[in-house]
């Protein structure tokens, strides 16, 4: 029996483990579809500046609101710009801002949640009430305030979005930590006299990491939607930079006769969100966290 175990579960390095998880994720159709969509968008975002057929900001009065054709695959918008060019470029800012935004959310939300879960008591009470207070503020109003005060540059958007989407992660990380700290191995580490930092790093993080990562992946798709809403309201990316939210906003008045200029960015945005959601679910399953039976708090 012992020999079986060794061959079955040899010591694997981290890369092999990550590959194994990817393989498990891709083994189910939903995971495969999700991964493919996300991969497609990432590749597109990386290569689009080189493959875009037109200049994204070239305004041309002669080609206003053309229907899709061989020349302009997705047609043109009200300023005569090529919708295909703008659509494949439109995900770049959204992806970068929200990716780094989620990383920040994960970091501060995760660490604060773990810390509160571990120390408990008054510190935990106070911090959690503050987090609750922030949760009660409609985030979009607060975002609008920040953006109108500090401008719409990515240096402002990334930390601001990271902050607002991290609040939810605090709760998840804290609950996951509560599950773990009741276990004897934490008591044992405490009794040995390890510092709180060492307990967090060595004993808690390896056990809550998966739950927090999955939560972070879900937040990423929400953040995309949030970021696009900001752009839609005109507080995200400034024109003429192509962005899905902005494109939808600009073209929405013309929807009844130039539907193509709205549909392309909508498909782009929603496919990415669906892709990320499917991937996050497959990721959770591959890590052994079942979101269908166990609510993430």
């Amino acid at each position: 029996m012992e020999n079986n175990l060794i061959t079955e579960d040899k010591q694997k390095n981290k890369l092999e483990k990550a590959f194994e998880i990817l393989k498990t994720m891709a083994s189910k159709p939903s995971g495969l579809i999700g991964l493919t969509i996300v991969l497609f968008h990432v590749v597109l975002a990386l290569t689009s500046p080189y493959i875009a057929p037109y200049d994204y900001k070239a305004i041309s009065p002669n080609t206003m609101l053309l229907a899709p054709s061989a020349e302009h695959w997705f047609g043109t918008d009200s300023l005569g710009r090529d919708v295909f060019t703008r659509t494949i470029l439109g995900g770049r800012t959204a992806l970068t801002v929200t990716f780094f935004g989620s990383l920040i959310a994960l970091l501060w939300g995760g660490l604060l949640g773990i810390f509160c879960g571990l120390v408990g008591g008054k510190i935990d009470d106070v911090v959690m009430r503050v987090v609750d207070a922030f949760l009660s503020i409609p985030w979009i109003l607060a975002m609008l305030l920040i953006v109108s005060l500090l401008g719409t540059s990515t240096e402002v958007l990334i930390p601001a979005l990271g902050f607002f989407y991290g609040k939810g992660i605090v709760r998840v990380a804290r609950a996951a930590t509560h599950d773990v700290i009741a276990k004897d191995f934490i008591v044992s580490a405490r009794a040995r006299g390890h510092s709180n930092m060492s307990i967090i790093w060595n004993e808690i993080i390896p056990n809550v990491r998966d739950a927090i990562l999955v939560e972070g992946a879900m937040r990423w798709s929400w953040m995309l939607l949030g970021f696009s809403s900001l752009s839609f309201l005109g507080f995200g990316v400034s024109p003429p930079t192509p962005d899905w939210g902005l494109m939808i906003s600009n073209a929405r008045g013309l929807m009844s006769f130039a539907y193509w200029s709205v549909i392309a960015p909508i498909v782009g945005l929603s496919s990415l969100i669906i892709g990320i959601n499917l991937t996050a679910d497959a990721f959770a399953k591959a890590l052994g966290i079942d979101r269908s039976t166990k609510a993430p708090v």
């Binding site: 004897d184 008591v187 405490r190």
Partner: protein, 675 residues
Amino acid sequence: MNEIIESVKNLSIGFNSQKGKQISILRNVSTNIKKGETVGIVGESGSGKSTLALAMMGYIKQGLFPLKGECLFKSEDLLKMSSRQLEKIRGRKIAMIPQNAGQALTPNLKIGYQIDEALRLHTDLNKTERDKKISELLNKVRLPSPETMAFRYPHELSGGQQQRVAVAMALAGKPDLLLLDEPTTGLDVTTQAHVLELLRFIAKDTGTSMIYVSHDLGAIAQVSDRIVVMYAGEIVLEGPARKILKEPIHPYTYGLLKSIPKLSLAGLPASMPGSQPQPGSINEGCSFYDRCNLATDNCKKNSPDLEHIKELDTNVRCFNYKELINQNNNLQTSITKKSNNSEANEVLKLKDVSISYAKQKFFDQLLNKISDQNPTVKDINIDIKKGETIALVGESGSGKSTILKSIAGLLKTKDGQIKFENDRILSSDLKMRNPNDLRAIQLIFQNPDESLNPNHTVEQILSQPLKLYFNLSGEELKKNIIDLLKKVRLGEFYMSRYPRQLSGGEKQRVAVARAFAAKPDIILCDEVTSALDVSVQAAVLNLLQQLKEDLGTTYVFVSHDLAVVRAISDRVAVLYQGRLCEIGPSQNVYKFPSHPYTEVLLGAVLEPDPDIKPKLVAEDIVEEKPPEKGCSFQGRCPRKIGDICNSEVPPWQIGENGNAIRCHINIEELASLQQ
């Protein structure tokens, strides 16, 4: 009497592994249950005993499926029945009593209603008849005041009472066969003895056949007429209870019986090497081959069949059973342990220690005092000598683990002092202790599944204390880890394993190694063997003893199991409701005279011997809080003498054997009473 109620024929149950391989966890099991007979099914965890028992009521857990064979209940195959047909049989013909009645009862329905439900479903009685029947049933299972009991909710009852209600519900349908799956495992020793006594009475009184599934040979010995021993999904031995327990002719059963610590024996029980094979890992040969000391080449290649031996009325699955037939008189042996030097210095002194779980009130918090007048643990005075093993014994709620936690600094004391080496006072706050004191006192926990970080390899687990206390790294760290693994008899290749890849015994060895990594002076053992199988328990006990003899460590050993304590400890302290009742050298505590509570505890111990019946001298009432005045044991004491027990705390008396007893009864009188 010889009518067969249920018979299992060549039953195999298995599952499909992730790789699509068919793995059987029950292999070719055949047995018969006769009318009025109690059959005990015994085996270690993973032996397939519960799967077999559940299959006997036509239930197969999700993911499992029958591979072949049948379960005939009165010549109808339960495994082929539709769920409609099974409904008519379950509860009415075959009833089950679950392990944890507290979880099996619906918490928001009254006891009477729940029994009534069973009656409505399984009988044709009308309302008044049913009401009569309910109080009859509650009477039968000996619940106090059955009239009011019916109107109570499950949470208002103690664990033992809940178990009795479950028995009453099972009896409601007048079943022909009762299935009991570890019905007493979660209960305290005294409660367990009472419930078993009740079950034995019911079996006799109603003539119901019973299948009693347990890992505990002591409990099995008390109730069974016949015993079936399971190992790795097979029946290895089957026969009359007395024969199996007194003259086991299968090497596994023999080893199992030898590895059970017994009250009558001082030393450590002999351990069996290895552990039970995982399902699907045996391809050829006998499943016990690896651990058997009678094994020959034949056993490696060929799997023995269950052979019927007429003169013994026994079935045995072994080629070499004849070697065991006439040498069984040495079951009552044990490994003598080196006793420590009683002249040694004291390393740890508990002086008037009280511990309270009560929350401070606001004003008390301001004045920084604790107002609880009746703390959970009170007036504990114990001096622990270097190199001795002192055991704290008591039922749940006796405060034994609480004391352990406060020694470790995990729980603040209310009053009193904990003195370490040279009478230096140890702070009861973990953060105030210096690192060297923290190193000197280490803990081993009950359940290694919880005490080892599931995401760390054994190497990472063992490196934690080594890095923390000795700042080791690189080659030196690795060398130390290998040394530690060697100490606990594990190979170097265990370093890269995760806890989930280890068996229960191996995990506990890693936990032991981690405690010893700190080179501690004192190790606090919190029920370290109670989550382990018997054969593994013996091995861990032997390991602990060996390490202690080699390294001179002091153990504070907490356990509810008096036989285990007898085996390992030099001195025993008996606790009831957080107060000391008796303390003394272990050979003397186990002799009379003893404190009435010790007497009760000792009387309730179940030995794997049908001739030693438990002596039930006290009621199994559960007290929630210690009494405010007088003797802590006043509520249950069988030898209570009067008002003095309720009003005054009894004085310490020292017997001629050297054990100190806290009782109002004169110690000589106590001796004559108990003889």
